[in-house]
Subunit: 506 residues, 2 copies
Amino acid sequence: MEYKVKRLDMYTGYPLVIVLNKKDADLMDVYSLDRIRVKKGKKQIIATLDTTNSEKLVKRGEIGIFDEGFKKLKVKMGSKVHIYLEKKPTSVSHIKKKLMGKKLSNKEIYEIIKDISNGLLNEIEISYFVAGSYINKLSFKETVALTKAMINTGEIIKFNKKIVVDKHCIGGVAGNRTTPIVVAIMAAAGITMPKTSSRSITSAAGTADTVEVLCNVDLSIKQMKKIVNKTHGCLAWGGALNLAPSDDKIIRVEHPLSMDPTGQLIASILAKKRSVSATHVLIDIPIGKGAKIEKMKDAIHLKKKFIEVSRKIGLRVKVFITDGLQPIGKGIGPMLEARELIHVLKNSSTENYHPVLKRKCLHIAGDLFELIKKTKKGKGYAYAKQILESGKAYKKFKEIIKAQGGKVPNPEKMKLAKFSITFNAQNSGKIKHIDNKTINRMARIAGAPYDKEAGIYFYAHKNDIVKRGDKLFTLYSDNKSRLNYAKKINWKQGLEIKPNGKKKKK
Amino acid sequence: MEYKVKRLDMYTGYPLVIVLNKKDADLMDVYSLDRIRVKKGKKQIIATLDTTNSEKLVKRGEIGIFDEGFKKLKVKMGSKVHIYLEKKPTSVSHIKKKLMGKKLSNKEIYEIIKDISNGLLNEIEISYFVAGSYINKLSFKETVALTKAMINTGEIIKFNKKIVVDKHCIGGVAGNRTTPIVVAIMAAAGITMPKTSSRSITSAAGTADTVEVLCNVDLSIKQMKKIVNKTHGCLAWGGALNLAPSDDKIIRVEHPLSMDPTGQLIASILAKKRSVSATHVLIDIPIGKGAKIEKMKDAIHLKKKFIEVSRKIGLRVKVFITDGLQPIGKGIGPMLEARELIHVLKNSSTENYHPVLKRKCLHIAGDLFELIKKTKKGKGYAYAKQILESGKAYKKFKEIIKAQGGKVPNPEKMKLAKFSITFNAQNSGKIKHIDNKTINRMARIAGAPYDKEAGIYFYAHKNDIVKRGDKLFTLYSDNKSRLNYAKKINWKQGLEIKPNGKKKKK
């Protein structure tokens, strides 16, 4: 049938959407959520159908097309297009098969992931795939197939190197900004580390948000390769590189029920590492209340799976389980984190950074050195320390930031947010625990990560002894009403101070 | 936070949608698909969040509101509104519980259905509920709870009668237009039958589409009660009456994977019967290739479930399994079906209607009479026949149509579609099977049910002996290009003629 194009000034990101008047849809025997092929000359799109009863929105004989589809088809308002009902892709029946508790073959998983990547499956269908993977679990074989499918349906960035290293942290810990320091150490040692990072999802800053304070992170694959070939490292935002593109679409439908089937989590992480041709990967699983993984048992289970699946896709991994019971750095939020990591790299005096941050970076880099056999077992940490403390890592860092179009500022002169408020201890004692969820939430409401200067600066950490009235932390924001809103959060629930064991007065 | 309203000229039917700029959403720590409370003075809505990166669509500081929400809030372009993140309803955790294979309590099922009815759960969440019900099955107790929840979250139309009858056909059989005739017979006998029917979903006409040829079917509850109190019967469209409103929303997300968990199907049907206060219900399950239920085994299983659940909600049912291997009437499509049923009611000469249609109506009405003990066992059919053939049913039918603002026309003078094409037998033999799916599809493409005159008229039926060249059926349409498109369907696959057992020529 032929329809007249009406542009609807809407867009979804995913999937492509067209709208028909309900009466036309009935006549064509097509339904909401059906896949429709829209053709204009040689150009064509496959879009998800929505229907409307409103003649005002889409009249009979018209087809409403959302922005992205409109651009892809290169049509004008009033153009004539032809539309056809597209058969359901066979991947829909594979999804149903998984829902029914059957195992999927490699080919079936590949088809599902390919169709998700190409926008051929709608969100409801993807939800059913997640539900099937969640209830009936993904077997080891299916998880491997899923990982491979995610790799092969996206871009793969190749480097002409025998060894390419990478790292990943499962997340949830505020201020855990080890990546830029580790990349600088590894690259300074001549090891290729083409790091792609995400922006924050639920935390106050992702690595990409933090590095963006210093330089451009939105690199093309071509730029990324050029920078890595020159400096051995880079600090790119992974979001626009089309690595494992099905992943974002799956994560979106997992959000409403806060589901994260283990198989999906592993496939998602490992696929992105393999997509940058990594050969050796270090994975950090912080555990503790407020972190993503709360129990040791779950962390150990996850660790085992990571190792098994990695082996099957030709990746050497080391997984370590770390303390997620408090933020890592003193600074939380892009600017504060950037400042602190420069201090670590510059070997500034120790009051400028949290020693745990430096130690953790050296551990990660050290383990990577051991994993790739650059050093013997037990010698990696010292080797990493030597590179960092000699100033080589800082020199390399400046080189990378420069290659990405930025310049490393003097951390002393970095401007902080206009408004701030400092919180003090209301009783004396030992800090027992600083809840990452609470801290992240507070920093986000203050404006992080979008407002780079917003965030939290800690004066005390876990296990520190504080006196009543001591400064605990300062909250920064560029916006007074945000600051007021953020300060109302019940942070005391997330920062426990255990009285010094003194007896109560009688 | 305060935002400036921008009206987006879009609507979804369900759920309410608002759009924020991605940066504002990040700052507020809210995500796509989160529930947001939008307040303007005392008015408020809870809507599903979508986000956009397009400043053109929704700038920072703006909130895009889809049509329905815009109207509900009674705001203007540029109005200031406040928005708040709404906690996930507890029903979300019940859905997750079902996904994890646990049984739900009555209260939990009620909360899910209530939240679906009120638009508090998005389509992805509803999909997860369907997936959980599909994979982990609904237990008998859960099915009963679901049915009760569907009843209690919608309107219940009460009649001051001890006995209220109803009927339901599982569907899929073309031309199965028994309902208006059965209502006329029952009402003529003084039995209350407040019939609500659906429009077609996949067939050439639903009862509501057919009755609409003769009168208004879009009745309010008040109108419906008035008509039933006066005539004992009515033939209303159920769609606008808000009976079991969760049902449509569940059906929408079942469509992409063509899922129809038995528990949902039973709850959906029985809830709608109980919502019109029915006490005695007859359920018709046609079986055969091309019908909704294809296998006897499945039909028997379904029958058993219907009876068990009905007992728990205080409904007396009789279920019968009928032949779904061919269309029931001669006419397929609203006008052709209306004409044929008037002929049955008027006791016209038998060439005007298919005898199977009349027989089936008398069976249903007869069984209902026996079920309510109006007649003894085995006497219902004769009693129904007497009412029909005496002309009492026709008189009652005219009364009902008049009460609904219409008039029963002379069937001889009913105008058919402008264009038609007749198909002939291409070989001699016995008609083995007429596939309902093919027939429905052909009629729909010709324009049914929206174009009332479009449809198919059959000259021969299953088991009839035809000669090569004999007329099989005529296809009607008001639109020549539709007719041409419809005639291209490979109908021979759906209408098998078995040669007369003659030996092939040597």
